[in-house]
Amino acid sequence: MHNSKEEYLEAIYNLTRGGKAATTSDISKRLNISPSSVTEMFKKLAEDGYITYSPYQGVTLTEQGTALGEKMARKHRLLERFLHDTLKIGKDKVHEEACAMEHTLSDEAERALCLALKYPDRCPDDGKMIPPCNLDFASCQECREWNKGNFRELGKRKKDVISLLELKTNREATIAFIRGGKSMLQRLCDMGLTPGTKITVSRIAPLKGPVEINIRGSKLALGNRIAGNIFVEAPEKCKPPVKKD
């Protein structure tokens, strides 16, 4: 039962990432489960506070639900990369394998896997983005150098993060986390994208084109993939932008 809850949240996470709600039939198709069972599970998940469920409109994840759904999606895609890159299992088979393994992968092993694979950002079969971890690091280099023993002592990130690609244009945000190798981090920092810096996205070219950002008083163009690996603190949800002066 627990596993299937995670499966549901992962599926809802994947379907609602674009901002729209997921319907019963979406989930039913995706998980290959009858619509009536899906509706039943929706009720349970809503009771547990993972989703908000309104009949005829579909479901969206709560903060708690997003966290768990994202976690599962991350583990799933990291495992896909591992199965594909390290174990050389075919692209067509990794999804199923990962589905079975993701529920037993501990958070500590998840971190170790991410480090061993050198902070992968896309999954091998469909190129979807691997969500960032929820550990309190500002960069993968920092995570790599962290060696103070007990994993349980590692703090969790206080605020949710979203990538620059998900940030609305012309909305200011603060850089929270940069994913990638040492030289990429160094270059981004040298260009002024140090964690904690305010950044706005002014334009995203169509079809996953480059991203134009404003930082430290000047404009930069970043390749789409690089922009996808720069994460900012997510703006507060469900509240209209309030002008503070």
Binding site: A138, K182, Q186, C189, G192, A205, E212, R216, L222, N224
Partner: protein, 657 residues
């Protein structure tokens, strides 16, 4: 002058004791990309410039000479750099130049409109203890954007002389040379003024102290910071004492990392930026926040629909203007030289005229008719700031070939002429990208090759076939790009490129930029074309061409199914592709070409001509840009490809034609 100033001794130990003015001084221009370095370089050195190698490196820096109050000063224009933690090969050049060549003074050109980012590099220069004169450029644009910079205060805070310039108007340009000369007479002791956060600063001091104890000669603030960053720039660890310092520094780094909870390179960069930001804040005052004209322009030029429309319009206009101009220049130059045409009496005369003179003026036509206008337009676009926008627009399409937006520029230029296009491949900073783009560039049908397609296939078989042949060529380029991308996959993760403000370029500067490249072609390309042309004419005069057609017959006749005489045409085509059509007509002896070639042969011949080898001008440039090995490889690959595809086309198209 009394004693040798300390700075001069540090710079060049072989000349210690000599006064500054006794030897040639070197001033190096360094700074971010697009800050107006080359404009200043042009203002200082006029047209007396050269690109030269240094220290056995194959990469180039631009050099020029300045005559200043009776002094002869070398000016070096270094490629744009953002950080000494280098990322691109171009930055590596600048880094190595500054470290190994120790210029007397570094002229750090800084864009006043984005002071914070520019100061990041200035701070690194200061850390190194380099003698720096800061040149504040584009201050006029900054003022228009209502940013006022207190240059006096900026100089005071940084501990360097600051000169305000408007480079394109030449204002303030000679002033900083005076400042640089003044700087030589002072010792450079003001490096310690700039302080980072206390935690970092304490540890820098500690490392300096440790270094002082271990090896006072090498101790410096820069080295201390490098060691804290976990870099060992001078590979010092051989010395036991110093390797002890290195491991001490590592410990200190560990402390910093655990305090800040960040990676060390992030900490140091953040410290530099914090300092740069605080200096920027102190010296600049923003009177109002005007909606920038540049932003409005970007809403059009980078628009997902209008942006591309405007881009293709610009492209079409460039190709149209250059081809019209080129045609006109061709007529004028040909007419001029042909009016002197002597009666050809003997083989010597024949080789002189048909080889030497015609080769010479053909080269002039390419140079003046195509290369010069292309470079004028390209310089203008580059100075105005439009090129980075093109790169932004074309980045996504280029990704399918594992290239970035920057490579679209040469590929487009190649439609007019491959020669300037190959030279323009330099804008790419990654070697693999440059090679791939250069190769694809030589495959793009230039105006001359397009004219054969239209004049032969289009005129005698039908325009649909002409379009088909051209379409096939583009498809081929795309497929080759895909294949090459598979063989040498892209290693760079994407662009990180500054998008500068739009600026109105100075025509003088545009002209000088174009002239420099044009001159390069005159010096290297023209002699090669003349020599090649003489050799082929000699072969022709002494009737050795028949041997060549015989040798080539197995390929041309048996495999490609072409008439034997095309062997000669293919050889001539190396010189000038467009000459093929004229030669073909002369081979037909006044009759229609259809009498000597079947439609199938025309199509196969055109396909071969399109692919088989870059013209000699392009080869000359390839040699210079990529070296003999790569050039040979590219040429052989293209010949092989032409033969392969031509043969297949002969057999397949035979079913239709």
């Amino acid at each position: 002058m009394k004693d040798a100033p300390e700075s001069a001794m540090l710079i060049d130990s072989s000349e210690t004791g000599s006064s500054v003015t006794d030897r040639r001084l070197t001033l190096a221009l360094a700074g971010n990309v697009n800050v107006g370095k080359s404009t200043i370089f042009n203002q200082l050195t006029g047209l007396a410039q050269e690109t030269g190698n240094w220290g056995g490196k194959t990469v180039e820096v631009k050099k020029g000479t300045l005559y200043h109050h009776g002094l002869q000063i070398d000016i070096v224009d270094l490629p744009g750099i953002y950080s000494f933690a280098t990322y691109s090969p171009e930055e590596q050049i600048t880094h190595e130049y500054i470290l190994t060549q120790s210029p007397d003074v570094i002229i750090n050109v800084v864009d006043a409109t984005s002071l914070e980012r520019n100061l990041f590099f200035t701070l690194q220069l200061k850390e190194m203890g380099q003698p720096v004169v800061l040149v504040l450029n584009y201050n006029d644009i900054a003022r228009k954007k209502s940013i006022n910079i207190d240059t006096g205060l900026l100089g005071e805070l940084l501990g360097v002389p600051v000169v305000d310039t408007i480079a394109i108007k030449g204002i303030g340009v000679h002033e900083f040379v005076d400042k640089a000369l003044e700087l030589l007479d002072k010792s450079r002791s003001n490096a310690g003024k700039l302080k980072y956060g206390t935690e970092v600063e304490q540890r820098i001091d500690k490392v300096i102290e440790l270094l002082n104890n271990a090896s006072p000669k090498t101790a410096s603030r820069w080295l201390a910071i490098q060691l804290l960053e976990g870099k060992n720039p001078l590979s010092l660890s051989e010395d036991e004492k110093i390797s002890a310092v290195v491991s001490q520094a590592e410990k200190l780094t560990g402390e910093l990392v655990s305090m800040h909870g960040e990676d060390i390179s992030t900490i140091i960069s953040a410290e530099r930026y914090a300092l740069a930001a605080s200096i920027t804040e102190k010296v600049s005052s923003r009177t109002s926040n005007v909606k920038k004209f540049s932003n409005i322009l970007d809403n059009i030029t980078l628009h997902p629909v209008f942006g591309y429309f405007l881009f293709f319009l610009t492209l079409a206009a460039i190709l149209f203007v250059v081809s019209l101009f080129g045609e006109w220049v061709t007529g004028v130059i040909e007419g001029f030289f042909e009016s002197f045409k002597p009666e050809i009496t003997g083989p010597a005369m024949d080789i002189f005229w048909n080889g030497g003179v015609i080769g010479f003026y053909a080269a002039l036509i390419v140079a003046i008719g195509f290369i010069l206008p292309f470079f004028l337009i390209l310089s203008w676009l580059s100075e105005s700031g439009y090129l980075p926008r093109i790169a932004f627009l074309m980045d996504r399409p280029c990704h399918t070939l594992g290239l970035h937006g920057m490579s679209s520029i040469p590929l487009i230029m190649a439609l007019g002429c491959n020669v300037p296009a190959c030279m323009a491949c330099r804008v790419m900073n990654n070697k693999r990208d440059r090679l791939l783009a250069t190769f694809l560039t030589t495959m793009v049908p230039c105006a001359a090759r397009t004219s054969i397609v239209l004049g032969l296939v289009g005129a005698f078989i039908g325009w649909q076939w002409a379009v088909g042949v051209l379409f096939f060529q583009f498809l081929l380029i795309y497929l080759i790009g895909l294949a090459l991308n598979k063989i040498m996959p892209s290693t760079s993760p994407g662009i990180i490129m500054e998008i500068p403000e739009y600026r109105w370029p100075s025509l003088k500067n545009v002209w000088r930029q174009a002239w420099l490249r044009f001159k390069e072609f005159l010096v290297i390309g023209v002699p090669l074309i003349v020599i090649g042309s003489i050799v082929i004419e000699a072969l022709n005069v002494f009737n050795w061409l028949d041997y060549i057609t015989d040798i080539l017959a197995p390929v041309t006749v048996s495999w490609l199914g072409l008439p034997a005489f095309t062997g000669v045409l293919l050889i001539f085509g190396i010189l000038r592709k467009e000459a093929n059509l004229a030669l073909l007509i002369s081979f037909a002896g006044g009759a229609a070409i259809t009498t000597i070639m079947t439609p199938l042969q025309m199509v196969v011949f055109t396909i071969v001509i399109l692919i088989y080898i870059p013209c000699i001008s392009t080869i000359a440039v390839l040699l210079k840009e990529t070296g003999i090995k790569v050039t040979a490889l590219m040429v052989l690959a293209e010949i092989g490809l032409a033969i392969l595809i031509g043969g297949i086309a002969y057999r397949l198209l035979g079913l239709f034609l």
